[in-house]
């Protein structure tokens, strides 16, 4: 059982769906959504939220700074 739980908050309307965060995620949490945002991009979202450890790797490589990362200890 993991001792930390993380979560990311993606600004859907600003995400351009480049997918760089998907390859940066060590626990394969992020996928591109099937829906599109106002610009027509498939935005990034948490497909597998239980696995998130709040490492902030996705937010570090995000070119548009749309990811905010939160973490709690359990």
């Amino acid at each position: 059982m993991a001792k930390v739980r993380g979560a990311i908050d993606v600004d859907k309307e600003l995400c351009k769906g480049c997918g760089v965060c998907i390859t940066a995620c060590p626990t394969h949490v992020i996928e591109l959504a099937k829906q599109v945002n106002g610009k027509g991009y498939n935005y990034a979202h948490m497909e597998n939220p239980e696995a998130c450890i709040g490492c902030a790797n996705c937010a570090l490589v995000c070119p548009d700074s749309v990811i905010t990362v939160y973490k709690i200890n359990i």
């Binding site: 739980r5 993380g6 979560a7 908050d9 600003l14 351009k16 769906g17 480049c18 997918g19 760089v20 998907i22 390859t23 940066a24 991009y41 948490m46 939220p49 709040g54 490492c55 902030a56 790797n57 937010a59 570090l60 490589v61 995000c62 070119p63 548009d64 700074s65 749309v66 990811i67 905010t68 990362v69 939160y70 973490k71 709690i72 359990i74």
Partner: protein
């Protein structure tokens, strides 16, 4: 054990990492996955960490990053094509207590602005140069740049760059490392979290060198241009790792602080 819902985690007190306040809320005009976005972000974070927002003046180039003044909440100037180091020289000499940096692409710095950058570095101006090298002219539609790799197809070299026709790619960073005026020359990239952290450290050092007045700091960021390279953002990162890093190896090329220390040791021994 009670299940934890995402809304319980997403609270202000649990914040780990978010957008820095130096970055404005304007939507970046860069293509999806562009390295400029990450580079802007780490420059903004460094400015925030050093607490120099009101003392920093950026000089933006001509190229994709010409509109950088829309995204970083600091003072900016916009230079003619390639002339950012000349403008930064004047700014720094008039306001020596300010932090002045230029933000240039390879088409701006290595081609039309090659003379300006070489002489600014040779004079050892106390400025920081951030050089984003994606081996192509991105804004104008993917033409061949001086830094384009051999064999790389672009709009103006559709059969790949050839030595006989186009000459060799220019390693401008290696040239600059030879000049005595420069204090710090390094080559970094921003495609992985580890690389972003290293690049941020390098940029921070570049800004700190301005306070020490030890010469020019030159930071090259090897980056991607997914639109110009006609690849997806993730594929262009992979292509960069496979091809660009062979010709443009990462790491410090010159760190005069260390060199000075060794020289100093020579005298006391």
């Amino acid at each position: 054990m009670a299940t934890i819902e995402i809304k319980d985690i997403i609270k202000k007190e649990n914040l780990v990492y978010g957008k820095t306040k130096i970055l404005t809320d304007n939507i970046m005009h860069y293509c999806p996955g562009c390295s400029h976005g990450v580079t802007h972000k780490i420059v903004a974070e460094v400015i925030e960490e050093l607490g120099i927002q009101d003392k920093t003046i950026g000089v933006s180039p001509v190229g994709c990053s010409v509109l950088a003044y829309n995204y970083l909440d600091i003072d900016w100037q916009q230079a003619a094509h390639g002339r950012a180091p000349a403008l930064a020289t004047a700014t720094k000499r008039l306001m020596p207590d300010h932090y002045v940096f230029t933000y240039q692409g390879d088409g701006d710095l290595a081609s039309i602005g090659a003379a300006e950058i070489l002489h600014a570095c040779n004079r050892g101006e106390n400025i920081t140069v951030i050089f984003v090298n994606n081996a192509i002219y991105g804004m104008t539609g993917g033409q061949m740049a001086p830094t384009t790799l051999l064999g790389m197809a672009t709009a103006t070299s559709p059969y790949g760059r050839e030595v006989a026709l186009h000459g060799y790619p220019l390693k401008i960073t290696e040239l600059i490392a030879l000049l005595p005026g420069v204090a710090y020359v390094t080559r970094q990239s921003v495609q992985t979290p580890a690389a972003v952290r290293k690049a941020k450290k390098a940029i921070k050092k570049g800004f700190e060198n301005q306070a020490k007045k030890i010469g020019t700091s030159f930071i090259e960021i090897v980056s991607t241009c997914s639109s110009g390279w006609k690849l997806s953002p993730v594929d262009s990162n992979r292509w960069m790792e496979e091809h660009m890093f062979k010709f443009y190896p990462l790491g410090d090329l010159k760190d005069s602080e260390k060199a000075n220390e060794e020289d100093y040791k020579k005298y006391i021994e």
